[in-house]
Symmetry: D2
Subunit: 366 residues, 4 copies
Amino acid sequence: MRTARVAMLREIRPPQERPFRIEEVEIPPLTEGAILARMVMAGVCGTDVHILRGQVPIQVPAILGHENVARVEEIGGEKPLRDITGKPIQVGDLITWLPKSCMQCYNCTILKDPSKCERRLGYGGWIPAWEHPYLVGGFAEYVWLLPGSDIVVVNDVAPEAVVLGDALRVMVHALDRIGGLDYGDAVVVQGSGAVGVMGALLAKDAGASQVIVVGGPAPRLDLVRELGADAVIDIFQAKAPERIARVLEMTGGRGADVVLEATGVPSAVAEGLEMVRINGRYVIAGHYGDAGTVPLNPHLINRKQVTITGAWSADNSHFLRGLALLRKLSPEALSKLVRPRFTLDEVNEALIATERQESVKAVITP
Amino acid sequence: MRTARVAMLREIRPPQERPFRIEEVEIPPLTEGAILARMVMAGVCGTDVHILRGQVPIQVPAILGHENVARVEEIGGEKPLRDITGKPIQVGDLITWLPKSCMQCYNCTILKDPSKCERRLGYGGWIPAWEHPYLVGGFAEYVWLLPGSDIVVVNDVAPEAVVLGDALRVMVHALDRIGGLDYGDAVVVQGSGAVGVMGALLAKDAGASQVIVVGGPAPRLDLVRELGADAVIDIFQAKAPERIARVLEMTGGRGADVVLEATGVPSAVAEGLEMVRINGRYVIAGHYGDAGTVPLNPHLINRKQVTITGAWSADNSHFLRGLALLRKLSPEALSKLVRPRFTLDEVNEALIATERQESVKAVITP
Amino acid sequence: MRTARVAMLREIRPPQERPFRIEEVEIPPLTEGAILARMVMAGVCGTDVHILRGQVPIQVPAILGHENVARVEEIGGEKPLRDITGKPIQVGDLITWLPKSCMQCYNCTILKDPSKCERRLGYGGWIPAWEHPYLVGGFAEYVWLLPGSDIVVVNDVAPEAVVLGDALRVMVHALDRIGGLDYGDAVVVQGSGAVGVMGALLAKDAGASQVIVVGGPAPRLDLVRELGADAVIDIFQAKAPERIARVLEMTGGRGADVVLEATGVPSAVAEGLEMVRINGRYVIAGHYGDAGTVPLNPHLINRKQVTITGAWSADNSHFLRGLALLRKLSPEALSKLVRPRFTLDEVNEALIATERQESVKAVITP
Amino acid sequence: MRTARVAMLREIRPPQERPFRIEEVEIPPLTEGAILARMVMAGVCGTDVHILRGQVPIQVPAILGHENVARVEEIGGEKPLRDITGKPIQVGDLITWLPKSCMQCYNCTILKDPSKCERRLGYGGWIPAWEHPYLVGGFAEYVWLLPGSDIVVVNDVAPEAVVLGDALRVMVHALDRIGGLDYGDAVVVQGSGAVGVMGALLAKDAGASQVIVVGGPAPRLDLVRELGADAVIDIFQAKAPERIARVLEMTGGRGADVVLEATGVPSAVAEGLEMVRINGRYVIAGHYGDAGTVPLNPHLINRKQVTITGAWSADNSHFLRGLALLRKLSPEALSKLVRPRFTLDEVNEALIATERQESVKAVITP
């Protein structure tokens, strides 16, 4: 009987209360099409913090960790498996896996938007850990991937880059929701967490003539500036009216063509709408949790004809498109974006570090 | 020396204070390309009421009336004139005219959106009435149209229909802003003023499978129901939560594909966002004036991925497209939509009637 | 042991050779989620004729008939079934069924276009009739629908209308491919078969200001004119240059905003590109079979900036949207659109009649 | 009386017949709003060669040269002038100018597409050189820019880069016609003239994951490869079927997401349609002249659902957006892209060199 060590979450409590406990879990035998993979790296997501704070509801016991890279150790059955691009999956391959949309519900089939799947199965918190196959999250030594999971073989991508793909795909989706950038757009990104930073790099690589990041704290702004953002505005140094004034000044008085929100703070939306130009586009991508309302002025939207929309998670196509950017990130860039690193035993520390927002992406390497 | 009687507005005061006074104004001689036209019918717009209440700022003295049909009486110079579609303009023609976008500013040339022209010239309140050519509004016996005005020959359209074209074009623009309806969309129209009613008829004719009008008072709802709306919800009979519940019920629990706002009431936006489905589209078209803020939830927009945008006035193409609907309106429908009728001397009564919101479109026929 | 009578196609031969033979086939017992339904009406499609002529390749023996309405006679297992909109399916319901996209292939999941599914399962010719469950086409007394089939409950739609939905959905898809009509568009439909006629009715109902059908023979043109087309041009009366000239004349010299091709004749594409205006849109929807090339001029496409695209079959959403139009068709209209009627024994006559192109939609009512 | 030396074209004859003759032309006094500018650099365009070959019709005598950079020497009148972005124009500024769309015709105002202006005024061949103000092309010492010309101040851009902007803006427009790239698109560019090369650099900078250039001769391919293209296919080395096979191989067997045509050769369109994936997009941008027809298969377009469109020249917004790329080109890149250089006296040599297609952009620096 083989077992795997996992960081088990048996009660929803904030990071500083150190809610995870390392437990030994039996590895079930593989069924046809299932995959057993040894974890290489798991990113800690802001959503994990929101889960611990009770702002994103899940059931416990749970094994978190939904930004994963692992190595295929065993494949169930004889039938050859393929990843979502059609590539064969083999023992030894480096893989990641995406939330599984049912492709049967109204949203998947009639709206044709798998990111809004009504019955999405998400590893790392949403698939129950109290029943077979138990090993359903990345904060662990092993994962047991269900037959039919949406796997991507990533042998040719650095694990650090793959881990960033979870945040990036939300921003690829955000651009998709507004029909992509027009070449030369001036883009403001609100927020300098992983989603914001990856959004800034994405916008730059997608043809923006100018990318301005509004966020904090300073170390994250310094990093995104170094990696390509044209300007940063520190929210701890400048208040909203000044931030708006600076964006207008940097965009010829007209405002940004596109503003991408990745803050989760309702007031950011009111602020961002002042930063966007007439007929500009505004995407709310940071409000995965419900943080309440903000007063907005319909006259402003009507007069400026801003297009506002939301980007909810992402679908497989967005992850795949994001790989183009992930492959371009240099080892130096990756080493600055993906840190600090924690062992599985330090999982509580990893969550505390993420809550402090000092780095872009903390990871666990068991 | 010829003169024309006009309803002069010398001071901004509410309708019930009867701010208009009939004055006799000299008709200036025509210059090359100018047109003198005798008014046939002028619609009274909700915006006229907003002007009198000081909610839409203009300079006085002014001659209001921007929904006009007139007959060409004289054309300045020898050069043949053409309307915006290329049709020749001749003495005796029935014409209307649209706000003149400069086609030189950034918004006209680079954004290519003449409805957001930075220097738009609007007859009926925005072109000064205190200087040549004075006769610049439709609440008058005559109008003096500047050379280069955007004229449309409407010999083949009933004057009552033309007058409705001003409200209709805003809704044609609203559909344009969201890429048009998809065939079979379920559409909610918020508001049953002229813009709302025309929006409902437009949506029905543009392929909506279902048009639900949320508004009041009852006579306007009865009319729009009679003219084609599939259902109406009276805001004086049902409160917001009930209205939302009824829309959801009528749309299979999913919400409307498209919601068109034509109320000018900020809280309608919060309500309407609850009525629209996942990935649905919401257009704010009724907030020409600034009526303040409303608390909105970014999480809702993010999660439902609603696309929200504004439609500000309209451009020439929207008016022309609207003619397709105006030509279909039967004399019976027109007689119910366009009433009551007032003479020029009754202009104050016309404004008072419009403020009471009892009919869809009051008109002045000098 | 129950049996069902079917029109079996054991050899690909042209209609006039009467290739169908009535056979008695055993009805297999239902498995969990399967449905046995008694055929009410099956439309004969132009594609069926193409199959018999060898222009659309299938394997024999086959049971054709993919435009079906049937009544649920029995449901396999105890689990409640739902149609693609979420409605429960019950014994006695009138149903139709659509080609089943796999929702797993690259085109379904990454391109998110189930109409281009790489492994589509189509009843009525593409699912093999030589193996379980045998009863896989509509030219039969009974059909045996596989578990997981894409069913639509159509109790509230006339069977004649449902049968027309197969042609209609292609045109709903065609509009979808060009982002829908803009309100008031002038539309040319090339072809007056079932797809063309339904396209004309659809365009009219989707807000076209003008619908011109170019086709033949005369009875079909008379019918589409009677049902709503604004003008028809008979290809047996006017040659291509004259047809082009007439369309230009009817569209103010500029050409149509949108041209929908539903002819299957390559030269129609060259002709249609002359009928469309600058920046207009052209959809090729009639070339399901390969009928060879036609000389086209890239300069024309470059200069006029026409957008040309194709619409291949349709997905479930297009069928559902089409229901809005199908529900509006009056019994009179349906009786003219759907005829002549044949019994199952007259299946060869039904195919011969369809090949003659005299009516819009011949049907078989066993 | 001041004069300017110009390369006068008095007869349409091929480059090798050396049709230009240097003449001395009087400089007319400036009127209000006119600008006299001393030429800094003029690009030689493939269109100039087409003009000399009689494939693009113009009237003679003419002064060619429509890819210009010049320094403002004198401004007519006292009124401050502004460029198309609102920037003041002052003596000493480096400027370029764009074709002037009338902004009054149907295409400018109703279609809102100034690139299809019905009365466009193009310097360098289309504005008559036989009447005031005579100095209307860039192959000259001086140009006399009409009041109201569409000027762009380009003090912060290298003249070599500005000259490339004429070809680039066509490709910015091409992307615009297909709604921009989706992030990570694989792009094929057909043609390695100035438009093709700039299209490749643009696609790369606009987020393409892969840019493949199909063209020749080798030196141009080497250059575009060096400047960023991921792969090149030499049409002198591989025939069409092999070129298609290689593109398919490089794109995972599916074909490119986007193909941009910049060849002017009709057969390239048939070839390119084989290179594009299902639901891909194809833009014809190289058929400014009419080079005849090519056999295309409507079934292919229907089945693959390719979107084909044209991009005709460009409008001001496209030039402005292109500046983002022009500013990124290094001096090294510019020195390779823009050569050889000729004096005004060598104008015939410049045209001969351009006809030989050995370099990307020959220029004249008087």
